[in-house]
Structures are given as C-alpha cells and as structure tokens.
C-alpha cells in the first residue's frame, strides 16, 4: 500500500514538474539558459522533436530547453535506467491506472502475440529516419500533448480541436493500448519513441558495473510468476522456471520487486549475473 501511494505521488510530482500550469522543470532549465522566469507548458519541454532530429543533425536548431532536457533524460537513463517512464511520466501512468478498470479477461497480453522489442525499436528507427523523407511526426502522435489537453481542460477549460492523428492517438493510447491492454502500457511499449530511446541507452549501459538496473537473483527465484503478472510493460518473462527481465522495455517502476515475496528482485549496481 505504501509503495502504491509513493508511486502515485511520484506521478503527481511528474505532473507538477512537467505540465502547465506548474511546469517547474522547464522553468528552471529556461531560467538557467536565459535568466528569465517564464510561463511554460509541456511544449517547451518536448522530448519528441529532438528525438526525431537526432540523426539528421537538426537537433540543435530546436528549442534549447527541449535539447537540454533530452540530454538530461539520456544521461539519467544511462546511469539509472528509464526512471522517467517508470516513476515520473503521468501520461504513461494514466493508462496504467485506467487499465485496472477493465477485467483482465477482456485485455490483450501483447507479448503472447508478438515480440515487443523489434516493434519498439523499429518504430524508433522509422521515427528518426522519417525527417530524411520530409516527414515530421513528433506532434502527430503525441500522448504528452493529449494528456496536457485533458488535464488542463479540467484545470483551465483549455482545449483545442483534435486533429485526425490526435484522435487516433487518443483511441490507441487510452482505449486499445490502455483500457484493453494488460498492464495498460501498450502505447509506451509500441509507440513512444522517447521511451524506446531511453531503453536503448539503458540496454547498452546496463552492462557496465556502475550502472543501476533491475536484476533477478536467480538463486532465490522460485518461478512463481507473480512478477510476470504485475509488470505493466510485460518486461518480465519466465526463462527456464526463473524470472528474467527484458531490459528493452523495463521502466524501473519497481512493481516486480515490490510483489516478489522472497525479495529476489532488486534495483542496484553490480551483481546482476547471479
């Protein structure tokens, strides 16, 4: 119970840090860069536009707050894993909490039907290569923006007409990959390029001895599957009766460690080869 409340509070903190009317994080970065304290929204943080232009070299032409934020995000991912997704992103958390409203028998466990990592990284590759062909998709499929519209509608009555691509994003994010997906994080798994980029960085950095990551103590694991059932990202798999973590989509939410009754799952450095 304490863990669940702590997690919820982290997402509330995420909202205060990144979304209007507070957007404290952007304001601080902006203050350091320009010396001015300005009213900012999630758009000034936008992590998707610099991600989209990471290969074509235009990344530095965009708003410096975004580029600095993406840099911070990737450094954090390198050393601590994608904690932004697992502990702070309220857009991802919303669908995770929404999915608890639908009984599990009506939900799709995508891992049973397809491998997640190739689709995740394929989307990321296409997303980063699209600007070479004149396509800009960062705003077309943005659940951060949709979350901003929903949250600020209730706070300020601010709303705009939804574009066709945003309508599809709403259907996919909230309904198909939210309500009717086991764990409620189908959008994070398949369509979020920022999450995929963080996991790619984390996958390579996790082999270094000083990097923090989730690991399973194989000597203690009894293969009870509790962690597999609670993982919202479907990142836990049973490998020869022992739990295994897929670093391609683990978001360090800590639910598996919390649920493990024999404390075989830990977040830390070093001895992950046990």
């Amino acid at each position: 119970m304490k863990f669940k409340i702590k997690r919820l509070l982290c997402y509330v903190l995420g909202f205060v840090l990144f979304y209007a009317p507070f957007a404290v994080f952007q304001k601080i970065i902006n203050y350091f860069l320009t010396g001015k304290w300005q009213e900012l929204t999630i758009h000034s943080l936008c992590l998707r536009i610099p991600t989209e232009h990471i290969l074509d070299g235009k990344i530095l032409q965009y708003a410096s707050v975004s580029v600095v934020s993406l840099g911070i995000l990737l450094v954090v991912s390198f050393f601590f894993g994608p904690v932004f997704c697992g502990r702070l992103c309220p857009a991802g958390a919303l669908t995770e909490y929404l999915s608890k409203l639908v009984p599990e028998k009506f939900q799709i466990n995508w891992r049973k039907y397809t491998e997640i990592a190739p689709i995740r990284y394929g989307m990321l590759a296409g997303f980063c290569l699209a600007p070479f062909f004149g396509n800009i998709l960062a705003c077309a499929y943005c659940n951060y923006f949709l979350f901003d519209l929903l949250a600020n509608y209730y706070l300020h009555g601010y709303f705009i007409a939804l574009s066709s691509s945003l309508l599809i994003t709403a259907i996919m994010w909230l309904v198909i990959f939210g309500l009717f997906t086991k764990g409620g994080r189908g959008y994070c798994n398949f369509l979020c390029p920022v999450g995929a980029l963080q996991n790619l960085v984390h996958y390579f950095s996790s082999h270094l001895p000083f990097v923090r990551r989730m690991y399973v103590d194989k000597n203690r694991c009894i293969g009870c599957k509790k962690c597999v059932q609670v993982c919202p990202m479907q990142a836990m798999v049973l490998n020869g009766e022992k739990a295994d973590i897929s670093l391609h989509n683990c978001i360090i939410c800590g639910q598996c460690a919390q649920e493990c009754s024999i404390h075989a799952i830990h977040y830390g450095v070093g001895n992950y080869e046990k």
């Binding site: 995508w110 290569l129 077309a140 499929y141 398949f190």
Partner: protein, 64 residues
Amino acid sequence: MKNKFINFLLAMGVPFSAVFSRGTGCSGICGSCSFVCTPGIFALLLLVCKYFYCKGKAKVIGHA
C-alpha cells in the same frame, strides 16, 4: 531472428507510411485530411493482424 527482422522492418514502415500520405494541404482537422493519420492506422493494422494470425494459428494447431 527472421521474425524479429520482419517485425523490425514492418514497425519501421509505420512512421514511413506518412510519406505516401503527405502533400495535399491537410489542415490536421479530421475530414480535411490527406491521411496524416495513416501511420497510426498502419500500426493498428499491424498489431491486429498479428493478434488474429496468432489466434488463428493456435486454433489450427488445437484442431490438428
């Protein structure tokens, strides 16, 4: 491995599907479009096809 590669290429095609849907003056508002939403539809189709393919395959194996 072959499956992984096919999935990777198909997923990479999701953002690329917008290449074929640009350039007819879409305002982004539903109804006036040049199918700016195609990547989303393509992604959805890809996953729905995988879902029904696996369901169908499991049924065939079950009958055999």
